[in-house]
Symmetry: C3
Subunit: 311 residues, 3 copies
Amino acid sequence: MKKFIIDPMDLSVDEINELVDLADDIIKDRSRYQDVCRHKILATLFFEPSTRTRLSFESAMLSLGGNVLGFPSGNVSSATKGESVTDTIWTVSCFSDIIAMRHPKEGAPRVAIRRSKVPLINAGDGGHNHPTQTLTDLLTIHREKGRFDHLTVGFCGDLKFGRTVHSLVKAMSRYEGVRFVFISPEELMLPDYLKEDLLDPLGIPYKEVRSMEEVMSDLDILYMTRVQQERFFNEQDYLRLRDTYILDLKKLDNAKKDLCIMHPLPRVNEISTEVDDDPRACYFKQVENGRYIRMALILSLLNLDHEVERL
Amino acid sequence: MKKFIIDPMDLSVDEINELVDLADDIIKDRSRYQDVCRHKILATLFFEPSTRTRLSFESAMLSLGGNVLGFPSGNVSSATKGESVTDTIWTVSCFSDIIAMRHPKEGAPRVAIRRSKVPLINAGDGGHNHPTQTLTDLLTIHREKGRFDHLTVGFCGDLKFGRTVHSLVKAMSRYEGVRFVFISPEELMLPDYLKEDLLDPLGIPYKEVRSMEEVMSDLDILYMTRVQQERFFNEQDYLRLRDTYILDLKKLDNAKKDLCIMHPLPRVNEISTEVDDDPRACYFKQVENGRYIRMALILSLLNLDHEVERL
Amino acid sequence: MKKFIIDPMDLSVDEINELVDLADDIIKDRSRYQDVCRHKILATLFFEPSTRTRLSFESAMLSLGGNVLGFPSGNVSSATKGESVTDTIWTVSCFSDIIAMRHPKEGAPRVAIRRSKVPLINAGDGGHNHPTQTLTDLLTIHREKGRFDHLTVGFCGDLKFGRTVHSLVKAMSRYEGVRFVFISPEELMLPDYLKEDLLDPLGIPYKEVRSMEEVMSDLDILYMTRVQQERFFNEQDYLRLRDTYILDLKKLDNAKKDLCIMHPLPRVNEISTEVDDDPRACYFKQVENGRYIRMALILSLLNLDHEVERL
């Protein structure tokens, strides 16, 4: 395993399979892993706040018997005194055994690792990468479907700015027989570069549509995202379009019985709460999977993944 | 034991006795409890800051051998992204074994528990409830007096807005032979509903007075609270009245030898520091009791209270 | 060992030797110390943020098997409600076994300890004292040079306001054969009181110069500090002088082979990153030493330093 996880694509298909297997094993019997990281310290350095991601990392480390220190937002870090990210990470790598870092600037993790003495996981750098979210999504797909290949994956909402969408499209493009359906308003369509540089050269089939209803029955996976008002030129457009991208039970009428509905969370109203009790709703399973895949990743980066004999 | 503690009155008299007994047992021999919560995680979610309460919860969990994660104030939570409290708690309940939540809005905990997969303790919701403060007060009364019944309990200061006062009045109303004395300026008298809906129907004797001196010799308990300047219409009224509600050694002249002086803290100047060394000052004993009753409550909610054989 | 460490000069030369010996022993075999503080709680109370110092304390306590609680900045403490520092510390001392406190006001720790039931370490009070930084510097000097006496110690940069400089000058003044060289712009010279009240009466030799080059070859230690723009009357002066106080490889041309370059960090640009790979660069060793000396200090204050048999 590499020492630094910056981009989800840093991981090979084989490495992802290993992580998914390890996470599966952890889920099977958590108690066997509960002391593996004893005396180890995870530093969670969040230069911008992201409570969900931070708590997921901290829960993962504590569930492995390890310890946690860090900061929850940039205004309590000493970056305000003009210190470089390289120096901050160098310093914290003297205090910890592994680092999870969130930073508002794209590319910050590449600068951060220059002097790091310990493994580092990018926990999100601006609109760029967020590898543990992608790994969470992959684990969820694998646990729900038993495979990565031969799936029709729909993405719905803001496909222009949603980094989790871009990353998952890239990650799923590596598997055979995968088809994509992109459901979005015209203003928020998937960026051209992903189609021209990735999907087209690989000959991966995809469709772009304006509404869920017309494609719902084809989907194995429906990945919902938030449509933020500030992405629109004017309020009327936003109000007119918003409801089209809200998933409710009615829109699920002709969906497959084993559709897997995902969402990176937080949601505002793009999935109606009436869907929450539907067995196809997997977005809170994703939250749980996020903890387990982070446990697997921490173990791998600390080279402790073989400390526990697999079941 | 219930799964959720929202209102101190959620607990029956019997359940309170059980908690008090358990806390007493913990105080007798802390070392027997120091590993009971090993591998368990408490989430402290403070949507508004309250350092004293948060640290008390965290100290309680750490003293049981458990772990802690969370956030100390709302501005580092993802509520800012428009997520509902229900979703936030649902998420965090995937990361932890028990939650303590503080929220500025009354009623927030009832919304929060809708999807929680783990026990939740209300650590204060606006001016509404704060059950662990009430339990702290009850443990202190029981440890100092050996009983809850047949006590004359004085409350002094801001009785209009002080939620700890309202809760403790309700909680103590359940015991036989309890009498209340309410000492406050006219502007800050106990709300009518407590008298009309609670005390009068139960026939509980109470007195309302303007100064401590006239009732001091009757009291078994004197519960002091802060008188905040912003509660008054004008500064003159505040300045005129303030000193009347400051407890000093002189005002204790004709108090009982075993009076128990309480305060929920923080204090500003409503108890003169000259009282701190008086053996009747119990407000820092309250702080310690707050830790122990929270240990008892965490153990009960996690169903671990019978893991340790009682002395 | 004392119960409270407020000023680095609170510690005798013998006590410093003991701490340095203990830190050396910890560095030799960390695993022997990894559970010594089990079930103990360190409270880190940072009324003003200082991530480096806080994380160093937390890492130290976790590396001893202990636990940590606290707050990272004043705006999440209840000082905002008008509570005195004495009361806050009294409260927290009911929740913890040892306290590390940072406060923006000089002298705050003396007020803080009045009612503290547990040991307290001053983690910096305004521009005043910062004893664990001084201990970190001393451990670094001792590890690099094997002694405290007969050294020529240069200080460079802002010698007027730099509290770490003042403290280290005081601490090193106690050893035989020590000589000082003070390198600074006229505006930022060492305060007169240190020369007139400390160095002159003890007959300690010192020199004051304007540039590093003229004294570099004499130095055993070069202690760099940040030159802050806001210390200057005008921008021209700052820009004119700044470069003089930036250490680069060229300025090290005629330095001793075993010069020890130190910096309390964070640095902005006063040490060029090209120096980072020079074996004489010791500033990140200082970071590591900071963790170890804090481990030693925590053990001593908790009277656990003799729990582990020395190697």
